[in-house]
Amino acid sequence: MSQDRTSQTVEVCSVRVGDTLYGVPIAHVLEILGKPATQPVPLAPYFVGGLVHYRGEVLTAVSLRRLLGMDPACAAEDVLVFETPGGLFGLFVDSVGEVLHLSAGDHEPNPPTLESRRQALFDGAWKLKDRLIVRLEPERLDPMHLASAFPA
């Protein structure tokens, strides 16, 4: 089995938030919106970055910065559009990088020492030669899931 896993490669879309590099399996990403116009929503849960316009729909976009308790950047951000069983939603990240081909064998689960909130949000990491890429699982970032998992 380990033989299979190591031989498999995953296409991962790399995104950057702050100094950390994250990766989302490309199969989950519906579209990438480059610095779209956003509309803040007063009284929304803290992790909601705002609304974005995506192909005629108004998407709720989660801000990874806000979710991680970082200073919400005032600079324009890119948005990844995900589709989950609950519907479409967006994820604000600082910037979207290139698509990487990573080996499934290089993936390891979250370290036990990781802070509990990140423990729940992250899905392990891939080991690159010189750095780590945190794996994100869209279903864990779904606003409905977040609302119940991390009430304000």
């Binding site: 929503v41 007063p42 929304a44 609304l51 005629g56 108004v58 709720t60």
Partner: protein, 783 residues
């Protein structure tokens, strides 16, 4: 579920709906063979398909129904209330099974119920004698004794009489005299029973007799008889998935949006402007077509009422006739679904509370039979659905007392309220005048639910009642939900959309005016609107946005949401716009203040505010503000007017006729013949250029002009004005000496002002006619 089954469910449900209509009609027209044939076909189709799909419960039940209907159709039985009740009950069971198939995929088990139903239907076969003796002459001759033909056997079904009659019919259907010759009728009945214990084979009445009468119709006449009537409709219509229509509606919404953006994008290229205009027209047409595709006639909802009225009247021992009008009026499917319950409730109310018992009606000089009238019609961009009963009407004093007893209105206020205002109290939660709780109504949830449901879809409910004469309940429903007119307001640099339906008027406060004109009672901010205090809600505070600097100009949107009147203070107003409602994610819906989001013509997004939720949150009460202010002023001989500047003079427009005030570029005004016209919300509006605004304008197409859109009876007309000045109450003027009320004049702000007579604005027909006349005149002048 496979396609075949789904198709079957759809068809069967339609068939049952049709049957239900026909059955209730049959009661009033028992001799109508067309109706009977129609019902028979529906049941027959269901039976045929069920056997094919292997739904045995459905098959045996519809078979039993078909047998009974077969007898009815051939005239061997005459329809009577018991038979119709039996058939209606059968339909209820069939419906139940269809539902079960739809949800679980199986028919479910209830043999007991089926058995009872089939027995009931069989009983019905036998209770009545043949309607015409000629229909069954042959088999009867020997077996039937004359005494059976008593004119009203149903009334005295003595045991012997009944079994004799049964025997007669069964003998008619059982194999010829070979066996029955020597045995008495009773014995035949007995043997037949013993021989046929199976429910499926128990009622072979029709099955046996039908083959003998090929002319009147065999089990398979449906295709031939149905074909000529329905083939036309079948060829020109097709079933479309509602999902697909929803998607199309969404896409059209997108197109409207893109069009708005294109229209707003300024372009120097004249060719582009032309294209944009063309796009505008095509989009409007397309939108209308797609909306039309979603329309269904209200008969889809009305059709259930004959049955409901019948059952209800029977259970209450009242006599009620249902009249329906305007069934062809069409309404968006989702809206139709939404008014189903409120309407049902209203009809129940009309029968339970409205219509009196036959004795009471006769005593008050009315016919014993009450009338409930359902009427639907178009009025502007709304559909009106009325429930009218000619019952006792509402007892104003009783309502007033109850309102006080239930502490819905403070006593001194209740005493002051006019009859019209008092009537509105019935829409408050917790109000019910029923003396006792019946199974039909009187549980205290009533008209408030009707109102809530209707207002949820942007509609309105009005009630009017006259003691002794009856009550009219009027539901005013918008034509569509997906695209609504809205006013865009700004708060702290952000756009919000306010649905126009809730907006009654706007008040602008200039720089520094907020301090002087907004009053405070402790923490509550209030605004004095024509002498009455109006609670204010600050949008920025409500949404926890940064505070606004005091002294800056602001606007108050006066809203009336679910009968709650309040003013919403915003930083500024942008344009009115037709917006496409986009749903919000569940996490944001929870906030409660937003009804959705939308994308504006300039590409920005805006949250759509929910005025009802805002009022509720702010604690704006229903009670004292339910009544419209016009009721008060009208009592004092006053009317509210919109005061406008027309050229050098001033004029007054009755406020209740004003639909909207629009600022539009002159280039949008077009001409039909010599008449200026405006395309407004997809309709053509004749313009009255009282202010000579258009003549003075010169050629600058960018210049803006103000148009007041007014309703005059059933039509709408536009008035060009230089400026809108104020809304004010005007007093009637009396001519000195005669004391006659001066027509067309009113006293506004202590100044005699002309009231604009909208009826004087010629209709468009005239415009076109005069154009034709001009044309014919010039044609005659030709040598």
């Amino acid at each position: 579920m496979d396609d075949l089954t789904r198709e079957f469910l759809l068809e069967s449900q339609e068939g049952l709906d049709r049957m239900e209509r026909c059955l209730t009609d049959l009661e009033s027209r028992p001799g109508d063979t067309e109706l009977l044939a129609d019902i028979f076909r529906s049941v027959h189709t269901i039976k045929g398909t069920t056997g094919f799909l292997g739904f045995s419960r459905l098959e045996s039940l519809s078979h039993a129904g078909e047998n009974l209907l077969g007898l009815l159709r051939e005239g061997q039985l005459a329809p009577n209330p018991e038979i119709i009740s039996g058939l209606l009950a059968l339909m209820d069971i069939l419906r139940g099974i269809l539902r079960s198939i739809e949800t679980t995929g199986a028919e479910g088990e209830s043999h007991h119920e089926d058995r009872a139903m089939i027995d009931r239907l069989e009983q019905l076969h036998r209770v009545d004698p043949p309607a015409t003796a000629g229909a069954c002459e042959t088999a009867l001759a020997a077996a039937v004794a004359a005494p059976v033909h008593s004119p009203r056997p149903r009334k005295q079904p003595g045991p012997s009489g009944r079994s004799l009659r049964r025997a007669r019919i069964s003998s008619q259907c059982s194999p010829p005299p070979a066996q029955s010759g020597e045995a008495g009728p009773r014995d035949i009945e007995a043997t037949r029973r013993r021989a046929e214990p199976e429910p499926r084979s128990a009622p072979p009445v029709a099955a046996a007799s039908i083959p003998a009468r090929p002319i009147t119709g065999a089990p398979a006449p449906a295709p031939e008889t149905q074909a000529p009537a329905s083939s036309g409709a079948a060829d020109s219509t097709l079933r479309v998935d509602v999902e697909l229509l929803n998607r199309m509606m969404n896409l059209v919404g997108e197109l409207v949006l893109t069009r708005n953006q294109i229209l707003q994008a300024t372009s120097a290229d004249a060719g582009f402007a032309l294209l944009a205009r063309r796009l505008d027209m095509v989009t409007a047409d397309l939108r209308e077509s797609v909306m039309k595709a979603r329309m269904q006639p209200v008969s889809h909802v009305f059709s259930r009422f004959p049955r409901l009225v019948r059952d209800l009247a029977l259970s209450l021992d009242k006599r009620v006739r249902l009249e329906m009008e305007g069934q062809e009026t069409e309404l968006d499917k989702s809206l139709l679904e939404a008014i189903r319950d409120p309407l049902t409730h209203s009809v129940r109310n009309a029968i339970d509370h409205g219509i009196e018992t036959p004795a009471a009606r006769l005593a008050s000089g009315k016919p014993a039979e009450g009338v409930v009238r359902l009427r639907a019609c178009h009025e502007g961009s709304h559909v009106i659905v009325e429930v009218h009963d000619d019952g006792a009407g509402m007892n104003i004093e009783k309502i007033r007392q109850k309102a006080i007893d239930r502490q819905l209105v403070p006593p001194q206020r209740a005493e002051q309220m006019s009859d019209r205002e008092i009537l509105q109290v019935i829409f408050l939660p917790g109000f019910s005048t029923a003396e006792a709780v019946t199974s039909v109504s009187g549980r205290g949830v009533g008209m408030d639910v009707v109102r809530t449901n209707v207002e949820k879809i942007g509609g309105k409910v009005e009630v009017d009642s006259q003691a002794g004469k009856g009550t009219i309940l009027r539901l005013r429903i918008p034509l569509t939900l997906a695209i609504i007119p809205a006013l865009i307001v700004r708060s702290r640099g952000q756009n919000f959309a306010l649905p126009q339906g809730a907006l009654t008027e706007l008040v602008h406060l200039g720089t520094g005016e907020d301090d002087s004109r907004i009053e405070h009672l402790e923490n509550a901010a209030l605004y004095r609107l024509r002498g009455r205090l109006l609670p204010l809600v600050f949008l920025n505070r409500l949404l926890e946005q940064p505070p606004r600097e005091s002294g800056a100009p602001c606007d108050i949107a006066i809203l009336n949401a679910d009968g709650r009147r309040f003013g919403l203070v915003v930083d500024g107003l942008a344009d009115p716009e037709e917006i496409v409602v986009k749903p919000l994610a569940a996490v944001l819906r929870r906030i409660g203040f937003y009804a959705g989001a939308t994308i504006l013509g300039n590409g920005e997004m805006a949250l759509i505010l929910n005025p009802g939720a805002i009022a509720q949150n702010a604690g704006v009460g229903l009670t004292s503000e339910t009544a419209d202010t016009s009721g008060d002023s009208r009592r004092a001989g006053q009317h509210d007017f919109l005061l406008v500047q027309t050229g050098s003079g001033q004029a007054a427009l009755p406020l209740e006729t004003v639909v909207r005030i629009e600022r539009i570029p002159r280039s949008r005004i077009e001409r039909a013949g010599s008449r200026p016209v405006l395309r407004f919300e997809g309709k053509l509006l004749p313009l009255d250029d009282a202010a000579s605004e258009l003549l003075d304008a010169g050629d600058d197409p960018e210049a803006q002009t103000t148009v007041v859109v007014c309703r005059d009876g059933n039509r709408e007309v536009g008035m060009t004005v230089s400026q809108v000045l104020d809304v004010a109450g005007g007093r009637q003027l009396e001519e000195a000496g005669t004391g006659a009320i001066a027509d067309g004049l009113t006293l506004l702000h202590e100044r005699v002002t002309d009231i604009v007579r909208l009826s004087a604005v010629p209709s468009l027909d005239c415009a076109i006619e005069s154009q034709v006349m001009e044309f014919s005149v010039s044609a005659e002048e030709q040598p």
